[in-house]
Amino acid sequence: MEIEADKKTVVPGRLAVDICGLVLKNPVMTASGTFGYGEEYAPFCDLNRLGAIVVKGLSLEPRQGNPPPRIMETCCGMLNAVGLQNVGVRAFIAEKLPFLRQFNVKVIANIFGETIDEYRRVTEILTRAAGVHAIEVNISCPNVKKGGVAFGAYPDAAAAVTEMVRGETDLPVIVKLTPNVTDITEIARAVESAGADAVSLINTLTGMSVDIERRRPHLANVTGGLSGPAVKPVALRMVWQVVRSVKIPVIGIGGIMTADDALEFLITGASAVQIGTANFIHPAATMEIIDGIEDYMIRHRIGCMKDLIGSLQTDGC
């Protein structure tokens, strides 16, 4: 509903983007799990200025996550094994969403489940809540019925989750892809055929780090997800591949620290970007990235995002 209203009233600002009917002031969103439920960063950022806030991944019931240590810094990046700790979808709606509704910002609920039915039920509950503008489906979660292999690792499982969520809501559905696969374009095409309105990528790359003195893994979970500047080239390459394989919008994520990084993704063809680990290093990173993109547009006399997105020149490459 609100999306429709916005479509009419939004003055097409230089930075505005339209992702499957979801009109954003600018292409800069926060990445799930790195911005809490928004309130954690309210002292440092004007939340009204964000393109969208993607909240921490939500499950049907609260999840307590993995034992500590959960994080470890690595070369130009970090590993995390938070284990999808979250308050659960009902507490999110009751306790976190009212805060976010005070702001003029699009809220995207990131969801996950251990079974396809859990994805469906979380979607059903969120669709009825006021103030959720889109659903981002994290398919990196292990499928308990399939021996814990991530839904996102196989085209058929990824498509099945997408189809279920698609059938349950009229909100735009963004499917978030894992990079821990042989061919990410195959998964992207599968979720596109299953009805995804957009895809976002990448989630973290599975990694590991060892304490040589104690001869133990640094993380209690042994492995964790790598994020930050270290993953950016891989993320960019995957965005490039996916942009050429699907017709739906692609949201670029991975190691974006500055406006220049964000511009690399946009030029490569991402319709929007998400900022993750950068928030930890610089709590107002998103604000600077928005300003930096605008400066670039002015400097290069680019009137609207459409003229920038996918403007990569590869002739002669």
Binding site: G33, T34, F35, G36, E40, Y41, P43, F44, K56, Q64, G65, P67, P68, P69, R70, I71, M72, E73, C75, C76, G77, M78, N80, V82, Q85, G228, P229, T277, N279, F280, I281, H282, P283, A284
Partner: protein, 279 residues
């Protein structure tokens, strides 16, 4: 109530070595920086460097407002790459300072005797508590403060000067070069019977081993005790859920709390030391 945190650009006014591997950073901040509560911490990072990537959490050791600016003091120990680089910062270099963060110590009005128990640089937040004044403010009546400071050797009893003359002092060193020879918790164990359990509050900060011994020591007493815990952090503001400690949630259930937001100060009785063994 804690004031709102912010991100400030600080300028190093002085960086002084206070003992081998220990340094005192004096940072000038804008006046807009909120006044920290004792036990709160800041996240600091060198903006000139691409790595280490993540900011590092350091407790507030001292905070003063002067004309036109605020002065923040941090007492640090070199343990790895980040702290090693901080130890080499020159006067005039800049640092981004995020804070003040977390929940500090809380002292109930009925407390008559406060025992500050510190190991090494764990003295930092306790020294700030003592200096900041609320512990001994007029309405606290005849409140007594005794500090138990422990370190490897006498020269590592950093921050000693901030306690001397402000409270009763008991020192312990592993090599006996100052005060009691042995762990500070052993010294406390000797004295403990002399304190009235009902009106005594222990506030502690130090290495995990010290906090664990303290937990064992206090298990059979009813003395209240708050400890400042450490865990690896990324955001410092409760967004990443990376910095959790296991706590007892009743009915044998385990819960996780964030050190940066729910702590760093916790009641010692809440903490579950080894979830797989104790839980």
């Amino acid at each position: 109530m804690a004031e709102k945190p912010s991100v400030a650009i600080g300028q190093v006014m002085e960086n002084r070595s206070v003992a081998p591997g220990h340094f005192l950073l004096t940072i000038q901040l804008p006046l807009s920086f909120a006044t920290p509560i004792p036990g709160q911490f800041v996240m600091i990072r060198d903006p000139e460097r691409g790595e280490p990537l993540l900011p590092r959490p350091i407790s507030v050791y001292d905070f003063q407002r002067e004309e036109g600016h605020a002065i923040l003091n941090l007492l640090c120990r070199v343990v790895g790459r980040g702290t090693s680089l901080f130890s080499r910062l020159n006067r005039g270099s800049t640092l981004t300072v995020l804070g003040p963060l977390g929940r500090g110590f809380t002292i109930d009005p009925d407390v008559r005797q406060v025992l500050l128990v510190a190991g090494g640089v764990g003295a930092a937040p306790l020294a700030f508590l003592l200096q900041e004044g609320s512990l001994l403010k007029p309405d606290s009546g005849k409140r007594k403060v005794t500090a138990y400071l422990g370190a490897g050797t006498s020269e590592l009893l950093t921050g000693l000067d901030r306690f001397q003359g402000f409270c009763d002092l008991r020192a312990a060193t592993d090599d006996g070069s100052c005060g009691y020879c042995g762990p500070v918790t052993e010294l406390l164990a000797i004295d403990l019977g002399g304190y009235d359990a009902k009106s005594t509050l222990i506030l502690a900060c130090g290495p995990a081993a010290m906090i664990r011994s303290l937990d064992l020591l206090l298990r059979d007493t009813r003395i209240r005790c708050q400890v400042s815990l450490e865990e690896r952090m990324a955001c410092g503001v409760g967004a990443c859920q990376g910095c959790v400690v296991a706590i007892k949630e009743g009915e044998g259930r385990i819960g996780y709390r964030m050190v940066c937001k729910d702590g760093p100060v916790f009641d010692i009785g809440e903490i579950l030391w080894n979830p797989s063994v104790d839980g």
